[in-house]
Symmetry: C2
Subunit: 123 residues, 2 copies
């Protein structure tokens, strides 16, 4: 799936990404920075330092929801743009996605790779 230009603009801005997964105890929500996201071949790559609970949840249910936005990017209704991404996630500990992130984020323990199934610009 093509990652929209506006979403890639948001990734360049300061801001907080939310990543939701579903575990046995209900939804789990964690954050990373907009600027930590990378795009490769239609996938979102996120360096995982911790994210242990997210990893455990994804092992049982790979569905993730991700939101990010920025007031600095022009959106659907003027200033401010945001996206909701539904996708399938996996944690990779080697390979090209891991290596791509490792170059920039030497501290990562894994690459959280999200294959989007639906990308919605919400504002």
């Amino acid at each position: 799936m093509t990652i929209p230009e506006t979403l890639q603009e948001i990734m360049k801005q300061d801001g907080v990404v939310a990543i939701a997964t579903l575990g046995s105890e209900g939804p789990h929500l964690v954050n990373t920075w907009n600027s930590y996201l990378r795009v490769s071949e239609g996938k979102l790559l996120i360096p995982a330092g911790y994210l242990h609970k997210t990893e455990a949840n994804v092992a049982h249910n790979p569905e993730v929801l991700i939101t990010l936005g920025s007031s600095k990017v022009k959106g659907l209704h003027g200033p401010g743009a945001g996206f909701l991404i539904k996708g399938k996630a996996e944690f990779l500990f080697s390979g090209p996605e891991f290596d791509l992130l490792k170059e920039k984020f030497s501290w990562l323990r894994a690459a959280l790779v999200v294959t989007p199934t639906e990308i919605t610009q919400t504002w």
Copy 2:
């Protein structure tokens, strides 16, 4: 529950809040702005313009997870602070919480009032 000073600092910064609820089809994730949050008597007040899906989910399961953060606020490990809030949510269409938000956010249709059960500074 006391709303920490650092969390209130984050609310003054530009940024995106994520609100997760659980529906029959799985987790649902929506956003609002840090600057839209208000605090009253230990509760978080969020003006709801849309949030129809969140409202429907909360009617069945009031548990919500909320994350927000800012790179501009000093956190646990230097620059950048963020919080995870677990709480019980309700939508109110009148009353003091609604009126408090209505003064600033004339467009709101409801006040999403969250009573925190757990506030965790995550970074």
